[in-house]
Amino acid sequence: MCLGIPAKVIKIDDHLATVEIGGARKEIGLHLVDNISVGDYVIIHAGYAINKINEKEAEETLSLLRRLGDEVYR
C-alpha cells in the first residue's frame, strides 16, 4: 500500500502539478512539499508528491554499488 513512483514534474499550477510517469501524464497535489520546480523528480503516492528525489544522493548510492562490485571482482 506504500508504493511510491518517481515522476518528472512537467508543469506547476499553484498547488497542483502535471507529472510524467513512464510516458503517461497525471495531475497530482503539491500540498505536502515545498520548493518544487519544473524538471524535478518527485515520488508520487496516493495522488500527492511526498518528496523531491535527491539526484546527488541517487548518484552516490549507484557509485557505492559500483564500488562494492569492484572490490569483489578485483
Binding site: 500500500m1 506504500c2 508504493l3 511510491g4 518517481p6 518528472k8 510517469i21 513512464g22 497535489g29 500540498h31 505536502l32 512539499v33 515545498d34 523528480y41 515520488i43 503516492h45 496516493a46 495522488g47 500527492y48 511526498i50 518528496n51 528525489i53 535527491n54 539526484e55 544522493e57 541517487a58 552516490e60 548510492t61 549507484l62 557505492l64 554499488l65 559500483r66 562494492l68 562490485g69 569492484d70 572490490e71 569483489v72 571482482y73
Partner: protein
C-alpha cells in the same frame, strides 16, 4: 524509467551478494517491516540468494493486513446509511469483517461503494454530489496518512459539509517497539520501510539502536536497494555496531518531510489502536483532532460497533509478528487462497501470505 532502471542493473546485485556471503558469519534474523519490501523480496528471489546464516522474516508492514474486523464492520455499516457514497482504496474491498466484505456488500446489497486511487478523488466525488454524503475509508501508515490529512484540511478550508472519513490509520514506530518487546522473536536487525521513512525520517528510529541495541537500515524498493541494506545490517552486526542508517538516501533524510508531518499532526492525533491478530498497541493509531471532529464518519453517523473476535483459524497474528511462516497455517493454499482469502494477509497483494503464495508457494 529514471530512478528505477539504473537501480535494476543485475551486475550490482551479484557484487553485493558476494560481499554479503563473504562477511556474514553469525546466524541472524532480520525483519523487513514493510509489505512492499516483502513483495520485492519474494519476487526477486532474494531469500534464496542469501547465505544460510541470514534469515529474513516478514513483518506487519501492510495497513490492510492489520485492519481489525470491527473496522471493516464499521465501514460496511456506514456504507449502508441512507444517501452515502462510500469510497476506499481498492485493497480494502476484500478484507473480511464479521459482516462480510465491502465487495460482497456492494454486489449483494447494491451499496454505492467506489474505489478511489487518491483521497482527493473522494473529495471530488463529495463536491460533485452535494446531495449525498461521501465517506472515505482512511487506512494507511505515515506514507498515506499525510495525503488524507491534506485532503481533510482542504475540505475544512472549503467548509465542505458532506465529506467524512473513517480513520483507521496506524503508525509504524510503535509497532516496531512492540516487536522488540516480543523477545521470542529474537530479531537481530530491521530493514525499515522506505516510503514511510520519506515522511517520518530516520531520527525517529533511534530507539531501536539506542535502547534495544539493534541496527536498522531504511531501504529503497529495488532488489539492489534491499541487498545493499542487508549488507549494511550484516556489516553492523559483524562489527558489533548498532545504529540507524539510510540506504534509500535519494528519498529519505534524517528529519523526514516536516511539512507533510506538520499537516498530519494538525489533522490527526495519536490514540491506542487495535492491530488485527496482534492486539492493542499503545499510541499506534490516529484519530481526528478536535478541530476536525466534524469529519469523523463514526461520530456523524453514530456508529457503535464493539471489537469482534476472529472466529476463523487464520494465523495472521503470528505471521504479522514473524512468529510463523505462511505455510505453517493449515488453511494456507487450501481453504485460503488469493481468490478466496480467509485472512487479510492473503487479501492484500502485499500481505505475507499472498506474496508467499504467488512467488514462493510453488517451490515449497
Amino acid at each position: 524509467m529514471r530512478y528505477i532502471d539504473e537501480f535494476r542493473e543485475s551486475e550490482y546485485a551479484n557484487g553485493i551478494i558476494d560481499k554479503i556471503h563473504s562477511i556474514s558469519k553469525k546466524n541472524v534474523k532480520l525483519m523487513e517491516v514493510c509489505g512492499t519490501h516483502t513483495v520485492a523480496i519474494f519476487k526477486s528471489g532474494i531469500r534464496e540468494l542469501l547465505p544460510k546464516t541470514i534469515k529474513l522474516i516478514s513483518g506487519p508492514g501492510c495497513p490492510v493486513c492489520v485492519t481489525p474486523m470491527a473496522d471493516i464492520d464499521k465501514a460496511i455499516v456506514i456504507a449502508r446509511q441512507k444517501d452515502v457514497i462510500f469510497t476506499t482504496f481498492g485493497d480494502m474491498m476484500r478484507v473480511p469483517g464479521s459482516l462480510g466484505t465491502l465487495q460482497k456488500q456492494k454486489a449483494d446489497e447494491g451499496l454505492d461503494i467506489r474505489i478511489v486511487y487518491s483521497p482527493l478523488d473522494a473529495l471530488k466525488i463529495a463536491r460533485d454530489n452535494k446531495d449525498k454524503k461521501v465517506a472515505f475509508f482512511s487506512a494507511g501508515f505515515e506514507t498515506t496518512t499525510p495525503t488524507i490529512a491534506a485532503t481533510v484540511f482542504q475540505a475544512y478550508m472549503d467548509s465542505l459539509k458532506n465529506f467524512f472519513i473513517l480513520p483507521v490509520n496506524k503508525t509504524v514506530p510503535p509497532a516496531i517497539k512492540a516487536l522488540l518487546d516480543t523477545p521470542e522473536l529474537g530479531l537481530n536487525g530491521f530493514i525499515c520501510p522506505g516510503h514511510v521513512s520519506v515522511l517520518i525520517g530516520s531520527n525517529v528510529y533511534k530507539f531501536i539502536a539506542e535502547k534495544y541495541k539493534r541496527p536498522a537500515v531504511i531501504s529503497g524498493f529495488e532488489p539492489v536497494d534491499i541487498l545493499l541494506s542487508i549488507y549494511m545490517l550484516i556489516k553492523q552486526i559483524e562489527e558489533k555496531d548498532a545504529k540507524v542508517e539510510i540506504e534509500y538516501k535519494r528519498a529519505v533524510t534524517p528529519e523526514g518531510n516536516k511539512k507533510a508531518m506538520g499537516i498530519m499532526r494538525d489533522v490527526f492525533e495519536p490514540c491506542d489502536a487495535d492491530w488485527r491478530g496482534i492486539g492493542v498497541i499503545p499510541e499506534s493509531g490516529l484519530k481526528l483532532a478536535k478541530k476536525y471532529k466534524g469529519f469523523d464518519a463514526v461520530e456523524h453517523f453514530g456508529i457503535n460497533i464493539p471489537a469482534v473476535e476472529d472466529k476463523t483459524s487464520c494465523n495472521c497474528g503470528d505471521i504479522l509478528r514473524g512468529l510463523k511462516e505462511p505455510p505453517e497455517c493449515k488453511l494456507f493454499g487450501k481453504a485460503c487462497t488469493p481468490e478466496n482469502p480467509v485472512g487479510p494477509c492473503m487479501v492484500s497483494t502485499e500481505g505475507s501470505c499472498a506474496a508467499y503464495y504467488r512467488f514462493a508457494g510453488k517451490d515449497n
